[in-house]
Subunit: 156 residues, 2 copies
């Protein structure tokens, strides 16, 4: 997530994909929900619910209540359009909505970027480990803190 990428384009893409997915599923991507999704995507970094709330208030002029944002986020998470990053209490746009996947993140301590990966090896290892203990997996959460490639290079 860097200088070399057309961010406006990638927000537009995310919205288009969301429109298509919701239409297909009969889920209602209302104006508010769409707007919240757009605000989540407004950076590639995880954003807190209250940051989004502030955007709504400032950019749109309406003083929204926290619940407004939380309900929209809940919908977006259910639809797989957004992931919640537990260790940050924050939300980030899903790079591959529609695909079945669990949400694995490499969270950089330096720049705050959260790169979503969907590593089959990690997923398989978790399922195997759980199965060995008789545990039925419903929702795996993997959030790896560390330093991303570009931050390692910078700090050197």
């Amino acid at each position: 997530m860097s200088a070399l990428h057309d961010h406006t384009h990638c927000i537009a893409d995310a919205l288009t994909r969301a429109d298509a997915l919701c239409a297909e599923r009969g889920a209602r991507l209302t104006a508010l929900r769409r707007r919240v999704l757009e605000l989540v995507w407004s950076s590639h970094r995880p954003r807190g619910a209250y940051a989004i709330l502030e955007d709504l208030s400032q950019q749109d002029g309406k003083a929204a209540a926290p619940l407004t944002v939380y309900r929209a986020l809940e919908f977006l998470v259910e639809q797989g359009l957004v992931h919640r990053i537990e260790s940050l209490n924050a939300y980030v746009g899903c790079a591959a909505p529609g695909d079945v996947h669990s949400g694995q993140f490499l969270v950089c301590e330096a720049c705050g970027d959260a790169a979503e990966i969907d590593d089959p090896g990690v997923g398989a290892a978790i399922i195997a480990a759980a199965a060995g203990r008789g545990f039925r997996v419903q929702r795996p959460t993997v959030e790896v803190r560390g330093l991303c490639k570009s931050c390692q290079e910078t700090s050197r």
Copy 2:
């Protein structure tokens, strides 16, 4: 974590291990910190900071402030005596303090139990996935939601 286990004994064990570890490291396991550790262990379930705070107030009669508990927990987490479960905002005693490990949890949605595992396959898969992307791992978090063995059997 069930009827068949001597819980009193296992709390005492945890405290003994903590004493030994801290002595060895020159870390100060003060009365307060020791007491908080004991309260974390008072069930095998993850406990919130405020639940521990309440215990302190009720059982010990002192009306402690949140910070008191948070500071003790911070110390205990640093020493690896306690893990924080991000997705629950809660803390749980570490089953194997002293050993190097990262904290992987199988969290049962039904009974609330959080079983700590240290599966080498999962750890290795995460490191491999990160390495493939140039990411330097500092602290992996794995929290798997699902149903534990005994809850699956019960619900059947």
